[in-house]
Symmetry: C2
Subunit: 411 residues, 2 copies
């Protein structure tokens, strides 16, 4: 570990920690119908960028994740807490004409609507995305779903594990002779949310030129499929059916995990120069002159032999000891950390990737701007309906113009 | 499989396939210094949104991935082809004063610069990100790197597998009694690129209000860490050290993969209602009334018992047969597809998630707009220097004002 230094000219930690900087999207208001993980990830990113996010929840129970563990000492679901920072909650019954009127009044003043119901549910509620954009031509309505708004599978229920299974990512993960393996985080939910954010902010940038809003349709399946790389190259490009290959890289060697005396270590020597240094560091310079390992292609063709030769040496000491030697020599390597150790890294602290919000720790903001706020929101995830009265008061006049009973209703 | 239908009011496949729609970012010019995967993923997304992307490559060899397999029948690297659609290539020697002048002339007319060198390299080249923004106050300069522009580890070399190892995602993936498992796609590279895109487009939207550009610092480690969900909730929220749990969900049951006669199937019955239907579909209604399995918490506490009871039935038939029954009953389920089967799904075709560009198949665009082009770029990844002469001609006057030898040079 070295001390904290900064690349010349780059923004500093202090600049990224300055709460006084303006937020990039502080002029944007979002009406958020999302629940569980994919949609709330998207709207949390909007809150991190400074948008006002009004989260509409079902009266009584609210977002499903409020009942999902793990629960912290204050009884709050960590699931809920992670995904809903910075939002304002209002409990609304969307089947009640008055609440629907209020909802439409909020949408009329909003820039963005995000929803992750099953396709068709918004239309049944009287909130058809395309109609909303027709009524509010500058509005951006983003629908995030498992399979998208059309296609043979669009009405199928989707959970993260279903999308991981059908997208190919699960089949591509794991040992060749082992089972398909689920990625150990809800990556398809999260990719759906992140690509939803990409679409919304792209549309916000475009709206400044065109004056026009748009619908956006993001499917967790499309998003996950689009990140498939090595296997999909085989399938689409060279017409070879891929099979999972464990922890190694398909075309760079050595680029894998290797067994030391105590545990695995990741070593990535992606070119001949690094391989030479690696061979020296292992005390086996002859590996670099072995014709089986002369070039990257040779090493990939003989990767099992090379792995065996490397592990024969690596098993003589611990992963931590080898990591220290490899780091000093400049060979990219890392022990495999439990996320509980990752979050304690000095590097993660300096980068602000864990932050304290309302007395609880949550992940920090991975997008760091020189000119804008980089902390993300510091407002805790809301109690159910925490801003209900205030929001009803704010939008009551617009929802009920003229008489208390007035205004356009559609049920 | 049903026929293609569309959620009421949603945009249709035809609207998303219309090449005549304007691109969302067609007014944006990007100078792209990126190589390999993380950076090029970001700039490919910019090209998909319609930006003009000028890719600066090293003379002679160009982007490293040009030499990385798998290679298609025309000799092109699929790695390169996937990540560089829609870009214009120019070979420039950034250590040559004339070429550097041309580079700075291009930057002076650009909206966005993206680079994924090691921190400090841009400054050494005379292209310090913060200085570029000072000289061109509307410019957005996004740096994508393994560990970010500062922090104790910022100068360490990072490859995808190193970041997967240190971020916790590898340790969280796999069976409890098995090894940490690399996600079977370069997810940390891709997340670095996607979060870079998020930052750039956020800054573009903000610039319309503030008139100001900004530096952006995105680390693959920060991006990957921020997607860690279940394990990180345990570590940060409830102070419990997480351990990988195979393919099941930590707090919803049954929500896992299960062994059928031939292979695994993913089944996600996330609530009591779905669990009742699942029990009936398996011909084991008694499971739903078994006190061990009465609630989701009960089922999670007895998940091994439940899995055993389910697999005793599931093993009597194939995954395909069970999938058909479960689908008909409305229980979220999916066989685990090889990505070669995923890409052949009618659903993937209808969604345009594989497209033909220049006679080769590549992944489609997962962000579908009603009002803007949703196809993404249809221009093939460029040959090295394919637009070199044209770009030199376009920017020569700005690079050399006055005399052929004029202009400000800094090396």
């Amino acid at each position: 570990m070295t001390t904290v230094t900064t690349a010349r000219g780059a923004a500093t930690p202090d600049e990224h920690r300055d709460p006084g900087k303006p937020h990039a999207l502080e002029h944007i208001t979002v009406v958020d119908f999302t629940r569980v993980l994919a949609g709330p990830t998207c709207t949390r990113m909007l809150a991190d960028a400074g948008a006002r996010v009004i989260k509409i929840e079902r009266p009584g129970t609210g977002d499903d994740t409020r009942q999902m563990g793990p629960f912290a000492s204050d009884g709050t679901s960590e699931y809920y807490r992670f995904a809903n920072l910075g939002k304002e909650s209002i409990a609304l019954n969307l089947k009640d004409p008055g609440d629907l009127r209020l909802t439409k009044a909020m949408i009329a003043k909003a820039d963005v609507v995000v929803e992750n119901f099953r396709p068709g549910v918004m239309a049944k509620l009287g909130l058809d995305p395309a109609e909303l954009v027709q009524e509010n031509p500058r509005l951006i309505v983003c629908s995030i779903s498992g399979f998208g708004q059309y296609g043979p599978l669009h009405l199928q229920a989707a959970y993260d594990t279903v999308i991981q299974a059908i997208s190919g990512i699960m089949d591509s993960t794991g040992e060749p002779d082992g089972d398909p393996t689920r990625v150990g985080t809800s990556i398809s939910d999260i990719l759906g949310g992140v690509f939803g954010y990409c679409g919304i902010v792209t549309a916000l940038a475009a709206r400044e030129r065109t004056g026009k809003g748009t619908t956006i349709d993001v499917a967790m399946l499309d998003a996950t499929f689009s990140t498939m790389e090595q296997g999909l190259m085989d399938a689409l490009g060279v017409h070879r059916r891929p099979h999972r290959i464990g922890n190694r890289h398909p075309s760079m060697t050595p680029f894998d995990t290797f067994r030391c005396a105590d545990q695995l270590i990741a070593i990535c020597a992606g070119n001949d120069h690094l391989f030479g240094i690696l061979a020296d560091t292992l005390g086996k310079p002859e590996l670099a002159t072995d014709p089986r390992f002369a070039t990257n292609v040779d090493r990939t063709n003989h990767q099992a032999d090379l792995k065996g030769a490397m592990e024969a040496v690596l098993r003589t000491d611990t992963a931590a000891a080898w990591h220290e030697r490899l780091e000093e020599a400049g060979v990219p390597a890392s022990p495999i950390l439990n996320v509980d150790d990752t979050r304690r890294l000095e590097h993660i602290k300096v980068r602000g990737m864990v932050k304290d919000v309302g007395g609880f720790q949550v992940p920090g903001n991975p997008i760091k701007f020189g000119a804008y706020n980089s902390l993300g929101t510091m407002i805790p995830s809301p109690e159910l309906n925490n801003r209900g009265d205030a929001l009803r008061a704010e939008f009551a006049a617009a929802a009920n113009p003229g008489t208390p009973d007035g205004g356009a209703t559609r049920s």
